[in-house]
Symmetry: C2
Subunit: 411 residues, 2 copies
Amino acid sequence: MTPELLQHQYPNGLVLLAEPMPHVQSAAFSFLIPAGAAFEPAELPGSASMLGEWLIRGAGERDSRDLLSALDELGVSHAEGAQTIHSCISAASLGRNLLPALAIFADVVRRPAFDDDEVDSIRALCLQSLRSLEDDPGSKAITELRRRHFADPWGRSPIGTVEGVTAAAPDDLRSLFRRSYRPDGAILGVAGAFDWEAVRDEVGRLFGDWDAGQPSPVLERPTGPARSHLGQETQQTQIALAFPSVPVNHPDYYRARAAAAILGGYTSARLFTEVREKRGLCYSVFASYEAFKDRAAVICYAGTAPERAQQTLDVTLEEIRRLASGGVDREELDMMRAGLKSALVMQQESSMSRSASLASDWYHLGRVRPIDEVAAALDALTPEQVGAFASGMDLDAMTILTLGPEPLQLG
Amino acid sequence: MTPELLQHQYPNGLVLLAEPMPHVQSAAFSFLIPAGAAFEPAELPGSASMLGEWLIRGAGERDSRDLLSALDELGVSHAEGAQTIHSCISAASLGRNLLPALAIFADVVRRPAFDDDEVDSIRALCLQSLRSLEDDPGSKAITELRRRHFADPWGRSPIGTVEGVTAAAPDDLRSLFRRSYRPDGAILGVAGAFDWEAVRDEVGRLFGDWDAGQPSPVLERPTGPARSHLGQETQQTQIALAFPSVPVNHPDYYRARAAAAILGGYTSARLFTEVREKRGLCYSVFASYEAFKDRAAVICYAGTAPERAQQTLDVTLEEIRRLASGGVDREELDMMRAGLKSALVMQQESSMSRSASLASDWYHLGRVRPIDEVAAALDALTPEQVGAFASGMDLDAMTILTLGPEPLQLG
């Protein structure tokens, strides 16, 4: 059963991707707009998040409260927010409410009220969010790891900094809006119960006359330090590390995903077995693959008691080196494959997951991969291919960050 | 479209509930066993979680690693763990892997290896988990609130205490296993792609000769203090409060759910509007309904900067009092209804969510509510009914807990 993919590109660059799911009543969309933290002025980190919050404080004919009420009346479950590259709006509801929900969000991204009186309350919220990161050492460690491992602006967190959030004035946010909310590079993925022609025409009516404007250049800066310790009086020591992988459009992509999964992507994966199961060193440990269009990394994380932290780090590094030097077993490859294939099927059954996947595929590849193509690529993998890929991983480019009461010996 | 519900009760008390989803390829199950923290010896808090972890460290013919590998080979995404009342196993995979996955978990709950050598590693993990709660002040505040608001053992957290986890010996865990892992009171919910007769027969083969044993009595103890402050040098002050509601089997259940949702269950709900939107007092604020079979509560939470905490608490209490005294609008009721109905439809489209809902309905009601019945009950609600329910809420029985550098004035 290969689902049908419908797609349309409007003259201003906006891409619409739609996959009907004949047996569901829900419909969902994921709208990616290239207006994430990467496009902030370097001196205003956090301004993309502030802008995203300002947009939903009233738009079109509706004030802030009317706007949220209108979505609640449609029973729309929704989330908005800046990520590193994109500002993302995702929403799901009954299929019959899809077009009314899209019309509300067309106001949000094109006709925000931009009431200056809202900005102080938004600034206070964003400062709260930064403070709550201080009370969440695991998330803080991964946030700070990304800042160091990826070159700026790819390492940026949308949460920003106290300085940036404090400094951003209403006119800065308006200027960011004019530069970054634009149809060229915007991707709208829709999945579930809908009528294709009605969606295509309504999206054209809502967004067809949205001006493309000028793209804003992204200035790449060097990466941060490869070894860091952040001293903080936490109960647990946080260990986060990253090393480069290949992006989704790379011929070795499936080998890279397999290598990361075998390291720490399922419950009997190597890190889980060696760190958690055999030695009881920590409760949470994982490895995950993260990608931008032109770069990617494997991120590993463990949180543990300070007296077990050195051993946890040592075992984690040892497992990464063993993956790079020792190859992988057929049994491991089978488990990785079974897990990813089950996940694919379950993604196909959720309008929300599927709409997100359509938009993500387009960002990474400029096309949507049919599920059958992904399954065939997974089936074709051999242990030799994955082992060869792993032996070429650039572990010298590894970034390690620890957070806790005492620094560790960084191998 | 009313889905078909299939059910069977085995002579030993085990209940099987199954809902076929004709157009999906996945199948999921949720298995509730009355072996949660409520059944722990009072001096061994945390032992139910330790036991749950021990069960998956090898069972039947498989050692710890073989067991997790067998599930990974089937592509089963799974989670196990003690909750307050139940020990819960949930799993999802392709439909054809449902019966093999059930057979593995039949070993887990009936024939665990119970290798004493595993217990120290399990104890270390559970102590890590307790430590990580110290680094997560929001979760800690809600955990400590439940301990005070609900009478013991309903207020217990499966995370336990350092003393309990340190003291629990292998024989204590074996004894808890014999008392609490039992078919009477166990509920198995299945949803997705499966053949009913094959499932019914295989569950009978796997669990039909499981002995019921003796039920262990639950001893109710008084609730904790109604007002508490936990001093901790956090960046944010955590505010958690609870007041009684009615359980799912109560005639006023839908009125109670509506009242809680109007307070803080959707994005334009009262707490969100007054605390977050209008005043920018905090990033996270919500109210949620939580129920056991014979008791329930509304839990409210906000995390905010210490200098804004007093106002956040005052506004939250004011909104609760306004709900109790001022009634609700038809517009609010419509929004609550639209949100719950969308959520119902989306739950119907996910085999994982649906299997959990089947098991939960049986626990609360001894039957599964057809979706149409829930929708009709929501449609029948009037603002007058919800307002009348809210005016009867017992706010004198409110529990308030704060956590942070300074105590607050507790209204």
